[in-house]
Amino acid sequence: MKPPSPSTLSSTGAPIVETVDLTRAFGSRQAVAGITFSLAPGDCLAVFGPNGAGKTTLLRLLAGLLKPSSGSAQLAGIPLPGGTLARSRVGLISHHTMLYEALSARENVSFAARLYGIRDPATRVDESLSRMSMLERADAPVRLLSRGMQQRVSIARAMVHSPQVVLADEPYSGLDESGARALTALLRELRSTGTAIIIVTHNLAEGLSLASHAAVMQRGKFVRYDTSARIDPKSYAATYREAVASDG
């Protein structure tokens, strides 16, 4: 397993996400260690790896929730951490729902829409909830929804402002089969409209079916990185298992 060189990681077209030697350390431990890649609009990077590999930290850096220790990243031409302008381009999905359980699904999505500058969000909120088949339960308080339904609302919240870049950390967490299908369809649709996606998942089949680029991350580094022409699911599964086993 040879780590890729930066020159092999460039996508075609003007990059919408670009990182160069991106590093984040917590004390003496480097959670993200010199990650370099670039994605063009419509690309999807699937990142696999064992627990603690640094996948979530990588997404948090790109979402502007963490500052890099060294290296650089840019999002839609804006260097990170790029303040409110860069954050307005990103939709963040996490295995944490990031919802307020006392508010209804509609109120949660509407609150997010207003934060993202959508002044009259009613139609957009309904569209977003409808895409995740949550319109019928839109007025139910989030605390009364099942875990899977909460995840659907969380995805609707992340998509309401039509982000240019979607950062998805274990987005299938808690979703049933129909929810997973709806999410996959949504992510495919977003790709076709030029949205770049970075998805962190342990589900190799789902991840590789969506991806134009794929990486296996271990101890903060990409130990394997491929574009769709070279993605071979079987050898990917083997690399992934090897990474998990060597960390276990």
Binding site: L65, H96, M98, Y100, A112
Partner: protein, 226 residues
Amino acid sequence: MGDTLFAAWLIARKDLAIEFRTRSAFFSAVVFALLGLVIFYYSWDPTAVAVTDLAPGVLWVVFTFSGLLGLHRSFGVETADHAIDGLLASPVSREAIFLGKAIANLIFVAAVQLVTIPALSLFYNLPLGQIAAPLIAIALLAAIGLVAVGTLFSAMAVNTRLAELLLPMLALPFFVPIVIAASQSTAKLLSGRPVAEAGAWLKLLLAFDIVFVAACTLIYPFTVED
């Protein structure tokens, strides 16, 4: 600036909607405040201490501790399922988040005061009608300072294991100037002195508010960057 204030109002409105639905912190704070008034009332010897000497201290001690209950909840609602990440990843400034939380807390503390001041008047047989306007001004000035400091420390304490203990430990020393100024100016009013005599204390409250609202708004972003 307009965007910051708009975002702050959205966040405050969301927090107030959550509190209105659950009412947990408000009822806890009101019950605490009323219990405090009752306990002080029954431990009071009217032949030894005049009511005008006792009431101001009781009022502001009760406000301070009941306010802490709401301040603790302020960032507590953001920790459930990492809602704070959604806020921090959104395109609103960190200052707007702080101001939004502070506005919601100010309305919360003012609502508690709205119940507590009439209750104080009732228990201690204090005619507050004639001093209502200056008393409201003191209450508002004290609440602004209390909320500015309390909101900042609530943000700092919320991710620690001992948040409920840490918040009062951090905030109470900073509340001391507010409690002294507010109780001293209230005492002047209750003893029938002209408002001008409380002027120095009111100026102190105003200065505290200006300094700490500005300082806490500027410091808050550093508490969420790591």
